[in-house]
Amino acid sequence: MAEVNPIIITVTILYFAVIIGIGYYTRKASADPMDYYVAGRKIGAFVNGSALAATYFSPASFLGLPAFIFLLGYPFWWALIGIIAGLPLASFLTAAPLRKYAPVSFTDYYADRYESPKLMRLIAGIPVVMSGWAYVTLSLVGMGLFMMAILRVNYAVAIIIGGIVILFYVFLGGMVATSFSTAFQGIVMTVAALAGAFAINAHYGGFGATADAIFANNPNFWTMPMGGHLPDTPGVYSHPLMSVWTGAVSFYFIWHFGFSTMPYTVIRFFTAMDIKSARRACFWAVAVGGAMYWGLIQIGSAARVLMETMHPLRDAETQTAVQILAKIQGIYQVGGVAITDYSMVAGLESLGSPLIMAILVAGGMAIAMATGAGWIMVLNVLFGRDIMGKVLGNKWAIENPVASLRVWSFIIIFICFLFALNPMALVLDLSGWAFVVIICTTGPPLIWGLWWPRATKTAAISTILVFFTLSMYSWLYSLNVHGSAHWFWLEPSIPIAHQMYWIPVSIVFFIIVSLVTKPPADETIKKYCTDLH
């Protein structure tokens, strides 16, 4: 192992000590299945809000979004603004009504609202399993990258350590441990992003000076599509994807609705003390998540100029950021990881501050572990309670609910560990699709089920099956044929982030099918729709 600064090692040990300590002190949760499933519905607004932010924002946020800014320039700022602007929507749309309904599992609502206790659990489970598999794998990969790039730990050792620590606290304390550790991780990741941003601004001498340095290095960073070019270079933009307005606008909306619909955030509303607390948690998620994104935008914006002027790996042959990243990837190469995923770490590494890197490694591990644990709690309840107990009627799973969830936690982490060990590019690519697939499949039946009495079971089943297939096909088609998942599948000259048009199309499809199919019983509508408002 190469020499690592003692500050980085100390901060890492402290971080792991706190997480393991939370797991140990919450082990009593295993005595009561409701504590293990939904933390006894005792989580307060601030803890839940911080945990919501940490769960929702994955390594795709911490590494991927600054990398997108590095690649696409200023227009991608609006993508991050769109993500945070989407958080409050959950307050009315799902947080309050779902807390009033008080389910245990993500699929409970689909089973009850659409009057199909077994089939709806299986159908709704399809996109959830695919998305969860991609996200847990991505979280392990993200954790491995951080530990490898900053702590110089062997990649396989890094994901083994990370996987064992996540398993330790999820296994012992279930949702109680996950809630408190994730809330702590929310603070850590926000401090890391803010520390990085403040260090950059301190280095250049303020926001204006940092912006000037970015401009001097790459003036076209500060452009928008259409007439948003610089005065003396019409028709020149930061990136081809951002040369047409659909590019900038679709990136605003692609992740915008996820907070209200993604299983790993929705289940956190089940843990809230009451409806008020569920609504207030959305405010705290904005406070914590918004602060983190404030830092990430600035880190991503300055990553290129930092690397091209200060990175220690620069030499006569390695001058551009892309060349530096290629060199880093050559040193730490991991399967299908994109070269730009290192840009955030490499940018801050250029500052040469061990303290910043120490905080960054803690933040990176925090965000990866929080998302991984959140998804494991979705999947272990889905397999251990819903499928084994409710669908298959397995006696052991029904009589030993906590043990069943623990077994599934182990299985899920082990399978995802095997995929993370040498990740195929496809797995990491699918983590992008894993987001849009949930919003356009289980999203409409959830939100319209809560807010529209006419929503039907046929519409729910057909929307999930049709848009699961269509979104995956179009995503893979664009990626493989057009060279990027961000070009419209039917027309390669139109930029559309992650094929996000499937979201409005699936909503229209769901409404039309609902209007022409048999409505649920009046009693069901009253209990699972109108009474929840």
Binding site: W77, I84, A85, P88, G208, A211, W222, M226, P231, F283
Partner: protein, 85 residues
């Protein structure tokens, strides 16, 4: 559809999307606006995008979206309490 959702939901959405739309139109219409328009020495998006759009507006909207229903619920509880007397 969405019958029973609190009215503040709709004006909150109008603020969030209206704000983004106004600045998209300006940014996509005025060459050089993003970098050359300065507020306090920094490009204007540091203020209207990074600070107000990213953080302040969602914070205010998410605050009002729990505060307004809570005040109304308190008022209803007080009125029902008086009615019981």
């Amino acid at each position: 559809m969405f019958k029973g959702i609190h009215p503040s939901f709709w004006w909150g959405i109008a603020i969030i999307y209206g704000y983004a739309l106004v600045f998209w139109i300006i940014e996509m219409s005025v060459p050089g606006f993003i970098y050359y328009t300065k507020i306090g020495g920094a490009p204007a998006p540091y203020v209207y995008g990074l600070t107000i759009g990213l953080w302040i507006i969602p914070l205010i909207v998410s605050f009002l979206w729990f505060w307004i229903p809570e005040q109304e619920e308190k008022k209803q509880e007080m009125q029902s309490g008086k009615g019981a007397e």
